[in-house]
C-alpha cells in the first residue's frame, strides 16, 4: 500500500524509474536479444523498418535495432560512472574546502576557473590529447562536473557548520575530521543524490555530443552519438537512421531528468542545480 501511495504522490519518479529499469535490462541483455551490431550487409543498405530489421538499416547495411540497443550500454556506463566519480571526488574536495578555511580560498578560485571552461570543449581537449577510449571519455566528462559538486557540498557545509550542534561537538572536544565525517557528511547526502541524477543526464548528453563530433569513444563501438553522426547525410532518404538513436537518447535523458526532478521535490532539496 505504501508503494501505491508513493507512486501516486511521485508520478515522475516512478515513470522515469520504470523507463530506466527497462533500458538497463535491455542494455544488459543486448547480446542475447539482438543480432551483431557491427555486421555489414551491403545488400541490405538503408532498408526502412520492417519485419527483418525492426528499426531498419543504415548506409552500410548494419541493423539499427542492434546498434541502438548496444548504444544504450555506453550511454548508461558513462552516465553512471561519471556521476559516481564526480560525486566522490567533489564530496572530498567540498568537505575540505567548506570546513578548513585555508584550503577554501585556493580550491574555490581553482574551481571558478574550471567552471568557466565550457564542459564540452574541455572534454574535446582532453580526448584529442589521448588515444580514444571509453575511460578517457569518462575522465574528460568527469573533470568539468567536479566543480559543480564541490560548490554544492561546500554550501551545505557552510550552512551546517554554524549550527549549534556543531558548536556542541567542538566544545565537547571532537576533532575536525570526526566532526566533518560524522556530523556534516550526512547533511550532504540528500542534495548529492539529486545532483548525481542531474550529472548522469548531463554526462549522457555530453558523451553523445562528443561521439557526434568525432571526439568520443572509438568509432567502431556503436553509440547513439556516433550513429547519428555517421547517418546524418542520409537523413532525407532514411530518417530512421537518425531518429532511432535520437529518440532513444532523448528518452533516456528525459527519464533521468524526471527521476531527478521527482527526487528533488521528494527529498525537498533546493541546493542541487542543473547549471
Amino acid at each position: 500500500m505504501r508503494i501505491a501511495r508513493f507512486s501516486r504522490r511521485n508520478p515522475t519518479i516512478v515513470l522515469g524509474a520504470m523507463i530506466l529499469v527497462v533500458v538497463v535490462l535491455v542494455a544488459l541483455a543486448a547480446p542475447w536479444i539482438t543480432g551483431d551490431p557491427v555486421l555489414l550487409i551491403p545488400a541490405d543498405r538503408l532498408l526502412p523498418p520492417g519485419a527483418k530489421y525492426w528499426l531498419g538499416t543504415d548506409h552500410l547495411g548494419r541493423d539499427i535495432y542492434a546498434r541502438t540497443v548496444h548504444g544504450a550500454r555506453i550511454s548508461l556506463l558513462v552516465g553512471v560512472t561519471v556521476a559516481a566519480l564526480s560525486v566522490i571526488i567533489g564530496l572530498g574536495i567540498g568537505l575540505a574546502a567548506g570546513y578548513w578555511r585555508r584550503v577554501d580560498a585556493i580550491v574555490m578560485r581553482f574551481m571558478d576557473g574550471l567552471m568557466a571552461i565550457p564542459a564540452i570543449l574541455l572534454a574535446i581537449a582532453l580526448v584529442s590529447l589521448n588515444k580514444a577510449s571509453v575511460s578517457i571519455v569518462i575522465i574528460a566528462i568527469t573533470i568539468p562536473e567536479i566543480p559543480r559538486v564541490v560548490r554544492l557540498v561546500r554550501s551545505v557545509v557552510l550552512t551546517v557548520r554554524e549550527m549549534p550542534y556543531i558548536e556542541a561537538a567542538v566544545s565537547g572536544g571532537s576533532r575536525g575530521q570526526k566532526i566533518v565525517l560524522r556530523h556534516i557528511l550526512p547533511s550532504t547526502i540528500a542534495p548529492l543524490i539529486v545532483q548525481a541524477t542531474y550529472i548522469t543526464a548531463s554526462a549522457i548528453l555530453i558523451e553523445a555530443g562528443l561521439s557526434f563530433l568525432g571526439a568520443g569513444v572509438p568509432p567502431e563501438i556503436p553509440t547513439w552519438g556516433n550513429m547519428i553522426a555517421q547517418s546524418r547525410l542520409f537523413v532525407a532518404r532514411a530518417p530512421w537512421t537518425v531518429f532511432a538513436p535520437g529518440t532513444a537518447l532523448a528518452m533516456v535523458i528525459l527519464a533521468v531528468n524526471l527521476v531527478g526532478d521527482g527526487l528533488r521535490d521528494f527529498l525537498d532539496v533546493r541546493l542541487a542545480r542543473r547549471m
Binding site: G113, P118, I124, F212, I228, V235
Partner: protein
C-alpha cells in the same frame, strides 16, 4: 559606478589566469606523449620531434608556462599546426557566423523564456502551466543535434520553408541571413529557453506570494502591470543569474549546432581541428570561449545594480 566596473573588470584577471593554468595543465598532465598522439599513427620519429619543438614541449615546464602566459597576455593564441596561421586570426575570420548565431539565439530565447515563465507563474496549476513545465523538462532532455535534425527534416526537407544548412553573411542581405539562422537558433536555444523559463516561473511564484504583491492587487494595479512592473522586476536577479550561467549551454551548443547546420564558424573550426589533431586551435578557442563566459557573467553581476538599488553601494 565607473569605479565598480573597473574593479570588476580587474577581478576577471585572476579567473582568466586560472583558466590559462588549467588549459596549460591539460596538455602537460596528459598521460601519453601529446606530440606522438598529435602526429598520428604512422608518424616518423622526425615528425614527432618536429611537433614537440613546435609546441615547445622540449623546453622545461616552467619555461613553457611562462612563454604561453606572456604570449597570451599579448593576445597571441599560438599558431595552427594545419593552417600555419595565427589561431587568433583564424578565430577572427570565423567570428561572424558564431556571433550572429549566439546573439539571435540569446535575444529570442530570453524573450520567449521570460514570457512563458511569467505566463506559467500567473496561471499556476492551469494546463498552460503544465504545458510550459512539460516543455521545460523536455527541452532540457533532447540534445541539440537531435532537435536540429528533426527541424531540418520537417521544415527544410519536407515543408521546404527554410534552407537545409549553411550560412549567409549579413553583407549578402538581411533576409537571407535571418532565414539561415532560424532553425539553428531554435535548436540551440531549446535547452536555454527551458532553463530560463523554469527559473522565471519558480522565482515569480515566490515573488507573487509576497505581501507587497497583495497590496498592489488590493490597490487596483492592472494584472499586466502587476506582473511585469512589480513582480518581474523583483524576480530579476535570479533570472539574470541563470541567463549568465546558462551561457555555458549556448557556448557548448554552438560547437554542435554549427556541425549540424554546416555553419562555418568558430565551432566548426574546433570540430575540424579534432580530426586534424590541431591542438593550438582547440586551446585557443577554449581561452576565447571561457573569456566570453567570464565577461558575460561579469555583465550579469553589474546588471544587478539596475534591478536592485541595494547592490549599488
Amino acid at each position: 559606478m565607473t569605479g565598480t566596473i573597473l574593479r570588476r573588470l580587474l577581478s576577471m584577471l585572476p579567473v582568466m589566469g586560472i583558466v590559462a593554468i588549467c588549459v596549460f595543465l591539460l596538455l602537460h598532465l596528459a598521460p601519453g606523449d601529446p606530440a606522438s598522439i598529435i602526429a598520428g599513427e604512422n608518424a616518423t620519429p622526425e615528425n614527432i620531434a618536429r611537433i614537440r619543438t613546435q609546441l615547445g614541449l622540449d623546453q622545461p615546464v616552467w619555461k613553457q608556462f611562462l612563454v604561453w602566459l606572456v604570449a597570451l597576455v599579448q593576445g597571441d593564441l599560438g599558431t595552427s599546426m594545419f593552417w600555419g596561421d595565427p589561431v587568433s586570426s583564424l578565430i577572427a575570420q570565423r567570428a561572424e557566423p558564431t556571433v550572429s548565431l549566439a546573439i539571435t539565439t540569446l535575444l529570442v530565447a530570453v524573450f520567449l523564456a521570460i514570457s512563458i515563465g511569467v505566463l506559467a507563474a500567473a496561471k499556476a496549476g492551469s494546463w498552460i502551466d503544465r504545458l510550459v513545465m512539460g516543455f521545460a523538462v523536455l527541452g532540457f532532455s533532447v540534445p541539440v543535434f537531435v532537435v536540429g535534425y528533426v527541424l531540418i527534416f520537417v521544415f527544410a526537407i519536407n515543408l521546404k520553408w527554410l534552407p537545409v544548412q549553411g550560412y549567409s553573411p549579413i553583407a549578402d542581405g538581411l533576409v537571407l541571413w535571418l532565414r539561415n539562422l532560424v532553425l539553428p537558433s531554435i535548436a540551440l536555444g531549446m535547452a536555454y529557453v527551458a532553463l530560463i523559463a523554469r527559473i522565471t516561473r519558480t522565482t515569480m511564484l515566490d515573488v507573487l506570494a509576497e505581501d507587497y504583491m497583495r497590496t498592489a492587487r488590493a490597490k487596483g494595479v492592472a494584472t499586466r502591470s502587476m506582473l511585469f512592473r512589480h513582480a518581474l522586476k523583483n524576480a530579476a536577479v535570479p533570472i539574470a543569474t541563470i541567463i549568465g550561467n546558462g551561457i555555458a549551454l549556448l557556448i557548448g551548443g554552438v560547437v554542435i549546432t554549427e556541425t549540424v547546420f554546416n555553419i562555418p564558424g568558430i565551432g566548426r573550426l574546433v570540430v575540424d581541428a579534432i580530426a586534424r589533431r590541431d591542438y593550438p586551435i582547440i586551446q585557443g578557442v577554449i581561452m576565447v570561449f571561457s573569456g566570453v563566459y567570464v565577461l558575460v557573467n561579469l555583465l550579469v553581476d553589474l546588471s544587478y545594480t539596475l534591478f536592485d538599488p541595494r547592490v549599488r553601494g
